[in-house]
């Protein structure tokens, strides 16, 4: 393998559940990761430098990975007796790229709901622009609750190679977040023919109409690259909770929100287009789709 300069990484946590760290620990090719990157500091790993040394050092590094919601209020958040603000401002100045790992760092996530005035994402407070910082040029958001380990590492690799990455209006890498959770869902055929899931615990039926699935509105590659190499929420029979979007978590996550008994339309599809097609699809009864997928009787 060719030798190259390794990009240096510092990982800092705000108000977090550690879920993004643990998701990162599921990255399957850690030895390859090690050929590209050097983790100077991660709160869960024994490394070369202590937290105190990290703060007093003034060397620069390539990536500051932020996990968790951010707050300037020392009553809500501090790091080992230091005000969080002091720590983050110090590290942010020394970082070439700032990567928000997960929905909390990106938009404020679940923990923002405790106090939306004091707890926020780095550049967004929910949908609102202006979060912990009003503006900053070098921030990338990789939302998800948690993020998929490949979303993080692939983004780091692209930035390392190209020094830039194309992002959408929420600063999410287009490579990943142009896809929808819906893409690759095993229940797609039921969605096409409007066969809804009769109840939880079955392989058959689409979870969009009753159980609250937000797959057609949620940007992610969950069903393209799968989780833990094997599955996804919809494959386990649970609705997509929309965790990569700025408004996660919506209320009533296991119920479909309807307007005059009609569900929301898929991302970028007009009501007229969607409801016309849905009406036609629903008027046909596709017998195969009414039966069990693995049909022992036929």
């Amino acid at each position: 393998m060719t030798t190259m300069r390794k990009s240096k990484i510092v990982w800092l946590q705000g108000l977090t559940c550690n879920g993004n760290s643990h998701s990162f620990f599921n990255y399957p090719q850690m030895e390859s990761f090690d050929t590209h990157f050097e983790v100077l500091y991660h709160p869960l790993l024994l490394g070369n430098i202590t937290f105190e040394a990290l703060l007093t050092d003034d060397t620069t590094f390539d990536f500051l990975i932020l996990e968790g919601a951010l707050s300037r209020d020392p009553l809500l958040l501090q790091k080992f007796n230091h005000p969080f603000e002091e720590v983050l401002d110090n590290l942010a100045k020394r970082a070439k790229h700032i990567i928000c790992a997960g929905s909390c760092a990106s938009f404020g996530g679940i923990f923002r709901l405790q106090d939306e005035n004091k707890i926020t994402g780095a550049l967004f407070n929910g949908k609102q622009k202006g979060g912990y910082w009003d503006e900053k040029k070098n921030v990338i958001n990789i939302p998800g609750c948690p993020l998929h380990p490949r979303w993080l590492v692939d983004t780091l690799l692209i930035l390392q190679k190209e020094n830039k990455i194309s992002v959408d209006e929420y600063l999410r890498p287009k490579e990943i977040f142009s896809y929808l959770m819906h893409h690759g869902c095993l229940r797609n055929e039921y969605f096409e023919w409007k066969v809804d899931s009769k109840q939880f615990g079955e392989k058959e039926g689409c979870l969009f109409y009753v159980q609250g699935c937000q797959g057609p509105m949620t940007h992610s590659t969950c069903n393209k690259i799968l989780w833990n190499g094997v599955s996804s929420k919809t494959r386990a029979g649970s609705p997509c909770l929309g965790c990569t979007e700025f408004d996660f978590p919506k209320k009533a996550l296991y119920e479909t929100h309807t307007n005059m008994s009609l569900p929301q339309t898929p991302f970028g599809v007009s009501k007229r287009a969607y409801y016309s097609l849905a009406g036609i699809a629903k008027s046909f009864k596709i017998e195969r789709l009414e039966r069990k997928l693995i049909d022992e009787d036929n």
Binding site: H22, F111, F200, G201, E202, A236, L253
Partner: protein, 446 residues
Amino acid sequence: MKITKEIIERIEGEATLELEWEEEKIRFAKIKFMNFRGIEQILKNRPIHDAIAITPRVCGICSSSHALAATLAIEDCFLQEEEPLHITQKAHDIREIVLNGEKIQNHIKWFYFSILPELKKMANVSFNDAFKDKEWLEAQQMVMESLKIVAIFSGQWPHGSFLMSGGVTCDPTLSDVFNAQNCLDSIIRFCERSLFGCPLDEFLSYDSAIQIMGSHSQLTSAIDVMMHFGFDSCGRSYDRFLALGSSYMYDGALKSVKTTVMGADVKYVHESLENTFFESQSSGYTYSKSALYRKNYFEVGPLARLMLSKDPLIRDLHRRYKDATLTRVVARLAECAHLLRRTSFLLKKLNLRESSFLPPKYNLNYCTCKGVGVVEASRGTLIHEISIKNGYISQYDIITPTVWNLGNGDRQNPSVAQKAIIGLDSIQKADFIFKSFDVCSVCTTQ
């Protein structure tokens, strides 16, 4: 009197210790958890079942335990309304498989990511970079295998979704089950080869501490270092154990004082806000509540579970070393062995012909009631209590295992971890003993 402030790094979340010293010995320790997230508050006024999606976010390392505790709490509401749900054996088994997979991951991660590096540091064996350490890398692969088992049934880990009041949402195929079994087999082979140094069944037949001391295994090496530094005689606490959640290893909810095991009931649990910011902004010093059972502190977790189920190996260690750090560390790894065998059994017996889910016939949306869900999570007893009113959550209360073990008592009645630290002569020892409880500060300050 000298007071020092110590930071505890490399635990789940972060904690600081404020130690009072007298004659070179720790006289009292304040355990501080400073970052607060307010999940109980966030759940208020949300629809009931949102608890199943939101509570896993209490903790990134034991999210399935929280989802299960929330589900059991909701199912208890049906029972309180005298409309109990029927949960199929298949759903029960899948819930246990997922919980076990998550626990196996926890125990392996704790030993290889936290304990082993600390012991290497103590023994002056170099350990600088996890990503280059062979043992760390191998353990990380095993962590992934155990979480693959979880994800096969729960869709993803962390923060999978597979639970609903009435059963589970997944409907696995036989090939999914074989896939999980193969993942489990690779973990068993790893543990036999590296961690235990003998076949799993042989390890599980042990009834004497001597049997785990002479082998070529990572467990034996860890024991050697711990003995060398005196952890066979320090880190002792009250010698009182509690497990309120169910387990195949024992019947019902149990407590013990030393080796005398008695029945217990979740209704005697009392939550204390003493020393917290919730009680007083000025005199409080932590966000961690404390949990007591009939006004007494009890240790929860793998050591408690194995003491209560009278596991011969752990009982023998206890006879020699009482509840010292050494016993606590070995107990966690011994539980890993039990979980591996149990999960293998569950995967083999899983009956896929049964239903995963039976929809509730009764609607909770029109009632006002309270339900309690108790789970034996990786670190011990986890309790969720949900109060509902007209279909919405009116109150939510969570007691996590770390609240049991690492709360703050006072000088007369210190908490489990405080008692284990008081009297020590070094911060290094205190730090390691602290870690032997597998601290999860994110759970604590939910």
